[in-house]
C-alpha cells in the first residue's frame, strides 16, 4: 500500500518553499548507518517505496531497514489537455518534503560494506543527491 496519511485536515496543500538545512532528523538514530540527503526536494511515496524494495531485495533477511521520512504533503496536478483555470487540480501523489541534511533511510545489523552497497542501490532511486553517514559519537 502506498504511503500516505490516514487522516488529513486538508486534501490539498500549497507548494511551499524549502528554506535552510534540516535541523532535526539529520543524524542516525535507530540503525548504524544512514542515507542523508545533501539536497532539498520532494521525495514521493512511490520513490520511498521503490527505495525500500531496492534495499530489501539486497538485504533479504539480513539487517533491518528504517524509513525516516513520511509523505505528509499532497501534490496536485491538472489533467492533460485541460484549459488553465477552473481551480486547483486534484491530488496526484503524496510526497515527503526533504531539506538538505535529512536522513532518509537507516540500516542496522549489517557490515559497513553491505550497508554501502545497499545504499548505492538505493541512491539510484532517489531524486536528491545523497551520502552515507555513520552514527555520531555523542
Amino acid at each position: 500500500m502506498a504511503l500516505m496519511p490516514k487522516r488529513v485536515k486538508h486534501r490539498k496543500s500549497q507548494r511551499g518553499r524549502i528554506k535552510g538545512d534540516a535541523t532535526r532528523g539529520n543524524h542516525v538514530v535507530f540503525g548504524d548507518f544512514g542515507l542523508q540527503s545533501t539536497q532539498g526536494g520532494w521525495v514521493s511515496a512511490a520513490t520511498i517505496e521503490a527505495g525500500r524494495i531496492a534495499a530489501q531485495q539486497y538485504l533479504r533477511t539480513e539487517g533491518r531497514l528504517y524509513i525516516r521520512v513520511f509523505p505528509h504533503k499532497s501534490v496536485t496536478s491538472i489533467p492533460l489537455e485541460t484549459r488553465m483555470g477552473k481551480g486547483k487540480g486534484e491530488p496526484d501523489f503524496w510526497a515527503a518534503v526533504v531539506r538538505p541534511g535529512t536522513v532518509l533511510y537507516e540500516i542496522g545489523g549489517v557490515t559497513e560494506e553491505a550497508a554501502k552497497i545497499c545504499f548505492a542501490r538505493l541512491a539510484h532511486k532517489m531524486p536528491v543527491r545523497v551520502r552515507m553517514i555513520r552514527r555520531r559519537p555523542m
Binding site: 500500500m1 542523508q36 539480513e62 555523542m138
Partner: protein, 210 residues
C-alpha cells in the same frame, strides 16, 4: 589517564565571533557546574575531535582553566561532520556521575547462522560510575545469542564498578526470525487510489450529495 585539552577563556560572545573562531580552528564551549561561575571557553577543534574519536568522556582542561571536566553535550552541524559547540561540566575525581555510554555488539551470534536476524534495539545507556572510571563503551557479547534469545540491560557488565541506570529488563539486543517481505502482487492489489480521510470533511460530502 584523561586526555588533556588546552583551552582558553573566551571573552567574545555572539555568532559572528563564534563563526570566526570556527574558521580559525577553534570551537566555542562553556564550563559550568559545582555551583561555581560559568566560564566561556575556546577549545582547539582538532584536539576535541581526537578526544571524541578516542571515546574520552572525562577530560583534563589546561591553559585558561585547570579542571577535570565531563563532556556533557555537543552541538553538531547539519551534516554531523563538525562540532560547533561543546558543554563541559566540572567533575572531581571521586565524584559519582551519570554518563551516556554507547553499547557495542561483539562476536557472531549462532542465531544468525540458524536464519535469525540481530536487532540492536538500545544503542546507548546511562551509566552511574566514578568520574575516574568512565567506560569508553559497553560491550554486549552476542556469541551465545541463539534464535529467540535476548540480552537485557541487566546482563551487561560495566567495567570500573559502575552500574546501568533504568529498567534492567530492557532488551538491548535480540535475535529474531526475519519478517517476510510482502508479495509484490499483494502490494499491487492493495495500492488503490484511496485517499485519506479528511478531518471535518462532512460538509463537502453533504454538498456532493445535494
Amino acid at each position: 589517564m584523561a586526555e588533556v585539552l588546552k583551552v582558553d577563556v573566551r571573552t567574545s560572545r555572539g555568532k559572528h565571533f563564534a563563526r570566526r573562531m570556527r574558521k580559525a580552528g577553534s570551537i566555542p564551549g562553556v564550563l559550568y557546574g559545582h555551583g561555581e561561575k560559568t566560564v566561556a571557553l575556546t577549545v582547539p577543534a582538532a584536539a576535541l575531535e581526537a578526544a571524541l574519536r578516542h571515546g574520552s568522556r572525562v577530560v583534563e582542561l589546561a591553559g585558561g582553566v585547570s579542571q577535570s571536566a565531563l563532556i556533557l553535550d555537543l552541538q553538531w552541524n547539519t551534516w554531523g561532520t563538525e562540532v560547533i559547540h561543546v558543554d563541559f561540566a566540572r567533575v572531581s575525581a571521586d565524584e559519582v556521575i551519570t554518563v551516556t555510554i554507547p553499547i557495542e555488539l561483539r562476536g557472531e551470534a549462532p542465531g544468525v547462522k540458524a536464519g535469525g536476524v540481530i536487532e540492536h534495539l538500545l544503542h546507548e545507556v546511562e551509566v552511574v560510575c566514578k568520574a575516574t572510571a568512565v567506560p569508553e563503551k559497553l560491550k554486549a557479547n552476542v556469541n551465545h545469542l541463539e534464535l529467540g534469545g535476548v540480552i537485557r540491560l541487566g546482563d551487561l557488565e560495566v567495567p570500573g564498578g559502575g552500574k546501568c541506570e533504568g529498567d534492567l529488563e530492557t532488551i538491548v539486543v535480540q535475535c529474531v526470525e526475519p519478517t517476510a517481505m510482502p508479495e509484490e502482487e499483494e502490494e499491487a492489489a492493495a495500492a488503490g487510489e484511496a485517499e485519506p480521510e479528511v478531518i471535518g470533511g462532512r460538509k463537502e460530502e453533504e454538498g456532493e450529495e445535494a
